[in-house]
């Protein structure tokens, strides 16, 4: 990551959500590979985690299997791990970005903040642009699923 104090607003993304579950359960769903694959990928995708060494400098290898048979490899390195509070990881596969997830206990609920910081504006724009193709792919998949459902009916 660049060590600049300048604004990162043009190459970052922040998503927040109030999850309807206590923080210990949210942490469990985040920190165990067998749980992550149940919610990580887009609809129609499955995932395999061959390694998830949840500690600073630990490796994380996750492969998303697309419905068309395409595999998307994701290699990351965990940077910060504070149980029930914070996880950050550096996504080393292209596109490179630093992802920081913070968990805030709010009784029976958990406020989650997901921050993504890309190396530079170029990579960020390139990523959102190539995502366009993935969106199209998803629509195709959903069309195919509808079609198959129609065949079975």
């Amino acid at each position: 990551m660049e060590n600049k104090t300048s604004s990162t607003a043009d190459r970052e993304l922040l998503i927040t959500k109030l999850l309807d579950a206590p923080v210990d359960l949210v942490w469990e769903a985040w920190s165990h590979p067998e749980h992550i694959c149940n919610w990580w990928g887009p609809n129609g995708f499955t995932c395999t985690i061959s390694k998830m060494d949840l500690r600073p400098e630990g490796e994380w290898n996750l492969v998303l299997h697309g419905p068309d048979g395409t595999d998307y490899k994701n290699h990351s390195i965990f940077k910060e791990v504070i149980p029930q509070q914070k996880i950050s990881y550096l996504h080393e596969s292209s596109p490179k970005f630093l992802s920081t997830i913070t968990f805030e206990a709010r009784g029976e609920q958990t406020f989650i903040k997901w921050h993504m910081l890309f190396n530079n504006r170029e990579e960020f724009i390139h990523t959102v642009k190539t995502f366009k193709a993935d969106e199209g792919l998803k629509q195709n998949i959903s069309k195919l699923q509808d079609y198959l459902a129609g065949m079975r009916a």
Binding site: L13, L19, V26, W39, V128, F131
Partner: protein
């Protein structure tokens, strides 16, 4: 090969982004833009031409001068794709929330047995 001319290409280059930033506050003529950069006037002129081709800059003649102004509405296309990308992550958190409800029900079920 025909060069790609869209808003992404326009902002893919740091010099072009700096030119857009400069023009966003007020229109400038070509010389005033070139003065701000340590580059030849030709190089700046080429960058401005690409920006114009990409629809991000409008050039008009005033007497002997070429006045350049930014057309920022072209950038909304980028916003749109960022929005779609954001939605992908929002969907992920929605799925996490659904999965958490499943987990809660499973645990609750076990406790009752």
């Amino acid at each position: 090969m025909k060069a790609r001319r869209d808003v992404y290409q326009a902002i893919a280059d740091p010099t072009r982004r700096a030119i857009v930033d400069m023009l966003a506050t007020q229109p400038h003529n070509m010389n005033a833009i070139a003065d701000q950069f340590e580059m030849t006037r030709q190089a700046i002129s080429l960058h401005v031409k690409i920006l114009a081709d990409c629809g991000l800059v409008n050039m008009k003649r005033e007497g002997r001068e070429h006045i350049c102004e930014a057309k920022l509405e072209a950038l909304s296309e980028v916003d749109e794709w960022i929005g779609k990308y954001r939605k992908h992550y929002e969907d992920k958190l929605d799925k996490l929330n659904q999965y958490l409800q499943t987990l809660k029900q499973e645990r609750h079920g076990k406790q009752n047995k």
